[in-house]
């Protein structure tokens, strides 16, 4: 633990903790909509933003936020149309994003490919003080949106048509969710990298919902798991000199496996014990034909 006495380790720890907290808070809405992989696509688009930033010597984080937000809004507009060709449009956007990023980073003379790797797979140990401030501010924005607007975002992700009939500002909320997804991607970029961003949005949620019954409980447990995976992962990475981003994600997946096994064992044990819980109640038949 002595490593955490160093400034760079403290910044690394703070950075991944912010990511571990913010990514699942946003990811739960994507999972609810069954769009769990959208974060991955937005991550691809963000790489073009990184390339633009490196090429023009601006902060890659800021350009990544702008470009990925534009990409996220485009994704939302494609989703809203619900066209069959939407699948292809998303593929064009995502692969255009990642190849545009690689292309621009290569154009940025004097910058080595080490930079590209840092953005693709994360590099929390090189988090600067300025990086950390940007991450804290953006992470705060993500938490404010996802926690304060939870009932409304839950409503549009649960049943968009009902929300529309109820007069909720569905379109504005959808666009806000899209832009917040882009911001989350950028926050997580330093910690786990653009290729693993989606994992931190999805895996803690997938693990939490194995043992929860409600949406709010799932959200809170997913945030706890995200923070725990980030802390344990960065500690392992520091102790054993492993790749930090990948280690954090592997820890989250390990948590998922443990919970999945635990839940299965618990269910089997309950069945063996003959305990019939509320969920095990005999349900009335769906259809009764009356004589």
């Amino acid at each position: 633990m002595s490593l955490f006495a160093y400034d760079f380790m403290q910044r690394a720890l703070l950075g991944v903790l912010i990511t571990g907290l913010a990514a699942p808070a946003l990811g739960i809405y994507l999972v609810q909509r069954r769009m769990a992989l959208i974060g991955d696509g937005i991550g691809h688009v963000a790489l073009t933003g990184v390339g633009l930033g490196l090429l023009t010597s601006r902060s890659p984080v800021i350009t990544a936020v702008v470009v990925s937000a534009l990409g996220a809004v485009a994704v939302e507009l494609i989703r809203e149309r619900g066209k069959a060709s939407g699948d292809i449009a998303l593929a064009l956007l995502f692969y255009g994003g990642i190849s545009g990023g690689v292309f621009l980073v290569a154009l940025a003379a004097g910058k080595t490919n080490a930079n590209l790797m840092a953005y693709l797979f994360g590099s929390p140990l090189t988090t600067s003080r300025e990086d950390l401030v940007v991450m804290a501010v953006l992470g705060g924005v993500v938490l404010a949106v996802t926690l304060l607007l939870r009932p409304w975002l839950f409503a549009i992700c649960q049943d968009e048509e009902y929300a529309r009939v109820a007069g909720l500002p569905v379109r504005a909320l959808n666009l806000l969710l899209a832009v917040t997804t882009a911001v989350t991607v950028t926050v997580a970029m330093r910690a786990v990298g653009l290729l693993l961003v989606s994992a931190m949005m999805v895996v803690p949620v997938a693990a939490a919902q194995l043992v929860t019954r409600g949406f709010r409980a799932t959200m809170h447990l997913a945030m706890v798991l995200g923070v725990a995976a980030a802390a344990v992962g960065i500690w392992i990475a520091a102790e054993y000199d492993t790749a930090p981003g990948a280690t954090i994600v592997l820890v989250a997946i390990a948590a998922f496996s443990v919970l999945a096994t635990g839940a299965a064992v618990w269910r089997t044990a309950r069945r063996r014990a003959g305990a019939v819980g509320v969920d095990g109640e005999a349900e009335p038949p769906e259809v009764v034909l009356q004589p």
Binding site: E161, R164, V165, L168, V287, V288
Partner: protein, 256 residues
């Protein structure tokens, strides 16, 4: 008697295919109107047009006497409780019955306003009225089809609407849920509510219905008392089979 819904010459088309061709429908306060018709007759499209979920190509629509299109009409939507056929697609994450029903309150709660005691009371009352008070903390995914349907009705009732719009509320619903549902609807009507429902068959709801509108091929074929079942449908023992709709569960016919 005030007018709740007034549709004049409503025309709706999906692409080039006309679904509703010049439909007039007026619903007055306190009425329970059932829209009947075969699959594909346009009955669901009619209520979707009234709810603003599909655009009107021609014709005028007014809700609660407000006839302008756009934002002014949107203000009237919160006076409507909508009960869709089934739970939305957003079931990737577990949600409790109470959480889903609470969505109904959002129409009355301003954006970013915290839930107050009145919101929680309305949710509890709505759950009790459909007989699901003891299932409030159960995940909706574990409920039977009928209980999920009652959850959706409770969500609509939680908004304390003046008009309930229901899309096939009794399709594939068990008898226990049907009677709980009929009780909830009866209480809503007794409290001065208006109901517009689409149904394949009325079942236990039949005694509640004050007027039936039959849609055939995109036009209104009948508007008046509930028509008596004709032909083999009149036989209370008839086996209800829809060869054109293999996925439709058999309906319930109480033949009253």
């Amino acid at each position: 008697m005030s007018t709740v819904v007034e549709l004049r010459d409503g025309v709706v088309a999906y692409g080039d295919r006309p679904v509703l061709r010049g439909v007039d429908l007026t619903v007055h306060a306190g009425e329970v109107v059932a829209i009947l018709g075969a699959n594909g007759s346009g009955k669901s499209t009619l209520i979707r047009a009234i709810l603003g979920l599909v655009p009107l190509l021609a014709g005028t629509l007014s809700l609660f006497g407000v006839s302008r299109r756009g934002r002014e009409l949107r203000g009237q939507w919160r006076r409507i409780g909508y009960v869709p056929q089934r739970l939305g697609a957003g079931s990737g994450v577990p949600a409790t019955v109470a959480e889903v029903v609470s969505i109904g309150r959002l129409a009355r709660r301003g954006l970013l306003r915290p839930a107050v005691a009145a919101d929680r009371a309305a949710v509890a009352t709505a759950l009790a009225s459909v007989g699901l008070a003891d299932r409030a903390t159960a995940p909706v995914g574990t409920l039977s089809g009928g209980q999920q349907q009652r959850t959706l009705i409770a969500r609509a009732l939680a908004a304390e609407p003046e008009l309930l719009v229901l899309d096939e509320p009794t399709a594939g619903v068990d008898a226990l849920s049907q009677s709980a549902f009929a009780d909830a609807l009866r209480a809503f009507v007794a409290g001065g509510g208006t109901v517009l429902l689409v149904a394949h068959e009325l079942g236990l709801l039949q005694p509640l219905v004050t007027r039936a509108v039959v849609i055939h091929d995109g036009t209104i074929a009948h508007d008046g008392p509930v028509p008596a079942p004709a032909g083999h449908h009149a036989d209370p023992h008839h086996d209800h089979v829809h060869p054109h709709a293999p996925h439709d569960p058999p309906g319930i016919w109480t033949g009253r």
